[in-house]
């Protein structure tokens, strides 16, 4: 199954949503997105990591280095207050757009009548 293409803005929103529950590291975010979308969206690192930096620069997510086993450390991302606000705003906008598209797609065609 080919993974569908995600537009940049939508990917940002999905990452924020994924982090809404708990902080995760890079792979964790990718896995979670894949799992919850039931394999529809498989994000590759080439899009993922630039997105992280983007969200970081915007102040919506915050990096945190946590120690792991093997005395190493991993970079975890956490949603910030600003990020939460942004997620809420984007969710509302997305639902608005989705409802509108759904209405259009479900509307009976003239020839159907």
């Amino acid at each position: 199954m080919k993974s569908s293409e995600l537009i940049q803005g939508t990917l940002d929103m999905l990452i924020l949503k994924t982090l809404a529950l708990e902080p995760l590291h890079g792979y964790g975010i990718a896995l979670r997105i894949e799992q919850i979308s039931k394999g529809v969206f498989r994000v590759n690192p080439g899009s993922l990591f630039p997105a992280f930096r983007r969200l970081e620069r915007a102040g919506w997510i915050k990096p945190e280095w946590r120690p792991t086993e093997n005395n190493r450390r991993a970079k975890f991302y956490q949603l910030t207050t600003l990020g939460r606000k942004q997620l809420k705003a984007e969710t509302e906008e997305w639902e608005r757009q989705l409802a509108a598209i759904t209405r259009i797609m479900r509307a009976p065609a003239i020839s159907d009548l």
């Binding site: 990718a30 590759n44 990591f49 630039p50 930096r53 620069r57 102040g59 450390r73 991993a74």
Partner: protein, 880 residues
């Protein structure tokens, strides 16, 4: 949105690069590990999982590049990389960089010089508050309602009393006054002004006050410079007496230093002294120039309507008033006069030079681009986008333009004062340059920087775009590229236009200097004497003074002969007046009136055509006689001999009454006793007018010019002459001591200035165009080296090869010359007002210049063509 976090993170990425990179590596490695572990959980082996994870990620470097490009600092880094790389490329090709930078320096520097001229001319001509509300008023007269410079005093006063749209009106006149006192007598240039003049301008004196209507005539206001220079910045000068024209005047005030007032735009000395205007009641005697300040909230149209209404009413009430209407001109525009026209013309000319230098550099870049094809191919292959390469090439162009601009500014810094020095005096251009203090200022610097950027786009875009195109086949490249040829044609056309312009100006100047002035100009010393009114109040005293001075001067051994005249020729001065021809066929006429000494014509070398010269015998007691010139004889007595005929001449008499100075013209009978040849009175380019010469004993004047014919070079004689004159009256200043050759040079000064500048531009343009042609021909030759080798090996002769190279460029050259001729035809009419006796489409000039241009082009193409034949065929055949 300016996010601090983003800025901080970006700075960290720039300055802690290693750490950031390490973190990135770490994060990516962790991702791979996590991915591999995940895959192992679904059953893959360790090696398989690791490989699969790596394949999923793809190129780690690409991912890292993707991450890096998110931040603003990456753009900065690429720009920095571009700059360093560009500098390295420029340093590598030193020859190319030098030629290109120098070429641009000439273009940008030249344009900066002319721009500074324009800036000085147009820059704030008026240092007065709200100067856009100041206007000059001109009465409209005559059938064609033409504007004249001056109004009558009486009209002016009525305008002043009746206007509501003008906050205030003021009048002024140019005056020259003798200042005497403890130091050497000095002649001051100044203005007579009406009360409230300076208030109208918006200026308050730094000391004292200005004129009021209840002030006497014997008061004066000084300019700041005069006060410093002559009165030692004496703070107690107010109320002190000074001696003007033999009268004692009280100093009322001193003006602030920024006031540089001129009685007319081309008056070269700024007015140093101000005195009150003497009222003249006659409504047909024009004496004052009028300016005014619009009342707040009033528009120009409202004021025009009101003033024209006032003028119409005055004309009805006083028929002898000659003003039928009034016209306005903003004072700033009046002051600038025709200086801006000259400056724009020169800017147009230098723009051509800039265009030529840009297209030369573009051609250089095109040639270089072809040589860098391999480099471009490699860069594209390793993944550089076209936009990235383009950006880098444009950065190179900007570096080139920047260095060219820097050298250009250095050139301009040296050239601008030079241009200021050769500006023609007694022109509004000179006045503007003086007042604005022509120098390299920040505006010019800013303009040059902008120009550098603009030029880099002009010459850089095309070659950069072409260089990033996929490589063409060698066949296509060997054709003299249409772009190169087109640029060459453009250069030839532009330089042709400039050369034609310079040629026309040169021919015009030569014609002007060849004009027969009608008298002998060599070894002729001239000077001006204006007798002070108080001391020489009667005509007898005036005549006696000049008698004594001439006697003394003629006695000097170095002086061959001496004479005197009112309104010296070639000084753009003339006093003309009417006369009447009585008798059976009465008539009227106008002529220039000159009072002269006996033997004046001999001194000047003006040939006598008929009758006799004026002699000592023609004194105040004998009947009035006069000599006329050939133009006057031909105009008013076309079919008869005017010798012995009598005309009625009108003598100007000024009487001081309680109402002011009353002006009258008293008639006298005059017998014509001689006819002399014509001279150029007003200037080299003005045709002779009718002139009448009367002995000054019979027609004394207060102000006359002395002329001395001396045996050798006159300049060293000047102090001795001055001393002799001061022996007669030590308080009488002698001014404007010049040789007649200097006056002639002054006549030509304006045109010479333009010729020098356009000539310089044309020469630079011609050289640059020649270099451009050489470059294109060289390049074409190199492209065809292989082909030439083949031809020579097959037995082609030298001339055939040369002709082959020449022919390649020929069609473009012909197009260029044709375009140049057409352009010159269209554009030289802009020079028409500067040309003398030469038509803007003068065929011989065009023909000569076309030949010159062809010769230059032929030579520039010929040299590389000959070089092509010197190549060893074996070497050429191996050339790829």
């Amino acid at each position: 949105m300016f996010r601090i976090r983003s800025v901080v993170a970006g700075l960290r990425a720039l300055f802690r690069k290693r750490q950031v990179e390490r973190e990135m590596d770490e994060e990516l490695r962790d991702y791979l590990d996590a991915a591999a572990k995940d895959k192992m959980r679904s059953g893959m082996s360790r090696e398989e999982a690791t490989r699969a994870a790596r394949v999923e990620m793809g190129s780690v470097d690409a991912v890292k590049e993707g991450i890096r490009s998110v931040g603003w600092e990456s753009t900065l880094e690429t720009i920095w990389q571009d700059l360093r790389f560009g500098l390295r490329m420029l340093r590598r090709n030193r020859g190319f960089t030098a030629v290109a930078a120098l070429t641009l320096a000439l273009g940008i520097g030249g344009t900066a010089v002319v721009f500074s001229l324009l800036d000085a001319v147009l820059l704030r001509p008026l240092p007065y508050p709200e100067s856009e509300r100041l206007f000059r008023l001109f009465p409209l007269e005559g059938k064609r309602k033409r504007g004249v410079e001056q109004a009558s005093y009486a009209d002016f006063r009525d305008w002043q009393r009746q206007t509501r749209t003008f906050e205030s009106l003021a009048g002024y006149q140019g005056v020259s006054l003798n200042l005497t006192g403890t130091a050497e007598p000095e002649r001051l240039e100044g203005s007579a002004v009406t009360p409230g003049f300076f208030a109208t301008l918006g200026v308050s004196p730094v000391l004292g006050r200005e004129f009021r209507s209840d002030d006497s005539e014997s008061v004066a206001v000084l300019s700041y410079t005069l006060w410093q220079r002559r009165f030692g910045s004496d703070a107690g000068i107010i109320g002190k007496p000074i001696h003007l024209e033999g009268r004692t005047c009280t100093v009322l005030g001193v003006l602030p230093p920024q006031v540089r007032f001129r009685s007319h735009p081309w008056a070269t000395p700024v007015s140093d002294i101000f005195v009150p205007v003497v009222p003249t009641p006659a409504r047909n005697w024009h004496s004052v120039r009028v300016l005014g300040r619009l009342a707040p909230g009033v528009s120009k149209e409202q004021a025009l309507a009101e003033m024209n209404g006032i003028a119409a009413r005055l004309k009805q009430a006083y028929p002898e008033s000659e003003a039928l209407g009034i016209a306005f001109e903003p004072l700033g525009q009046y002051v600038v006069s025709d200086a801006s026209q000259t400056a724009w013309l020169l800017l147009g000319a230098v723009a051509f030079v800039l265009l030529i230098s840009c297209s030369n550099v573009a051609n250089l870049l095109l040639s270089q681009g072809a040589a860098r094809e391999r480099e471009m191919a490699i860069r594209t292959a390793v993944g550089a986008s076209r936009g990235r390469i383009l950006r880098q090439l444009l950065t190179e162009s900007m570096l080139l333009a920047g260095s060219g601009g820097a050298i250009g500014i250095a050139l301009a810094y040296w050239a601008i004062p030079l241009v200021g020095r050769i500006a023609p005096p007694f022109s509004s251009l000179f006045s503007r340059l003086q007042d604005a203090n022509l120098h390299l200022n920040w505006t010019v610097l800013g303009f040059s920087a902008l120009l550098s950027v603009l030029s880099s786009v002009m010459f850089g875009v095309l070659p950069a775009w072409k260089a990033t195109r996929p490589a063409q086949s060698s066949f296509a490249a060997s054709r003299a590229g249409g772009m190169r040829g087109g640029l060459m044609a453009l250069e030839v056309a532009l330089s042709l236009v400039l050369l034609v312009g310079a040629g026309l100006m040169m021919k015009s100047l030569i014609r002007l200097l060849e004009v027969d002035v009608g008298f002998r100009t060599e070894h002729l010393l001239t000077m001006q004497v204006s007798l002070s009114e108080a001391k020489y109040s009667t005509p007898e005293k005036q005549a006696a003074y000049f008698d004594q001075v001439l006697q003394r001067l003629a006695a000097m051994p170095a002086v061959l002969s001496a004479g005197t005249v009112t309104d010296l020729p070639l000084t753009r001065n003339e006093t003309s007046n009417g006369f009447e021809i009585p008798g059976p066929h009465p008539g009227q006429g106008t002529a220039g009136y000159h009072a002269v000494s006996a033997g004046y014509f001999r001194t000047m070398g003006i040939p006598l055509l008929n009758g006799r010269e004026l002699e000592m015998g023609d004194s105040a007691n004998s009947p009035l006689v006069g000599v006329i010139n050939r133009s006057m004889a031909g105009k008013y007595w076309p079919n008869e001999n005017p010798m012995g005929k009598t005309i009625v001449v009108y003598r100007f008499v000024a009487e001081r009454t309680s109402a002011g100075t009353h002006v009258q013209f008293k008639p006298h009978m005059l017998e014509i006793v001689g006819i002399v040849s014509d001279i150029r009175q007003l200037g080299l380019d003005a045709p002779p007018d009718p002139e009448l010469f009367i002995p000054y004993d019979q027609w004394p004047a207060q102000e006359m010019s002395l002329v001395l014919r001396v045996a050798a070079e006159p300049s060293w004689l000047i102090p001795r002459v001055e001393k002799e004159i001061w022996r007669v009256d030590p308080d009488q200043p002698v001014t404007d001591i010049k040789t007649m050759d200097e006056w002639v040079a002054r006549e030509a000064a304006g045109r010479r200035f333009i010729l020098l500048l356009i000539g310089a531009f044309a020469s630079i343009a011609a050289v640059l165009a020649a270099v451009g042609i050489y470059g294109v021909a060289s390049y074409g030759m190199r492209q065809r080296t292989h082909e030439i080798g083949v031809r020579m090996a097959l037995g082609a002769r030298r001339q055939q090869i040369v002709w082959l190279i020449l022919r390649q460029n020929l069609s473009w050259l012909v197009i260029g010359i044709a375009a140049g001729i057409a352009g010159a035809f269209a554009l030289t009419r802009l020079l028409a007002s500067y040309l003398y006796s030469v038509r803007p489409t003068d065929a011989s000039t065009f023909g000569l210049i076309v030949l010159v241009q062809l010769a230059i082009a032929a030579l520039a193409s010929f040299v590389p063509a000959r070089r092509a034949t010197k190549v060893d065929p074996m070497v050429a055949l191996r050339y790829e």
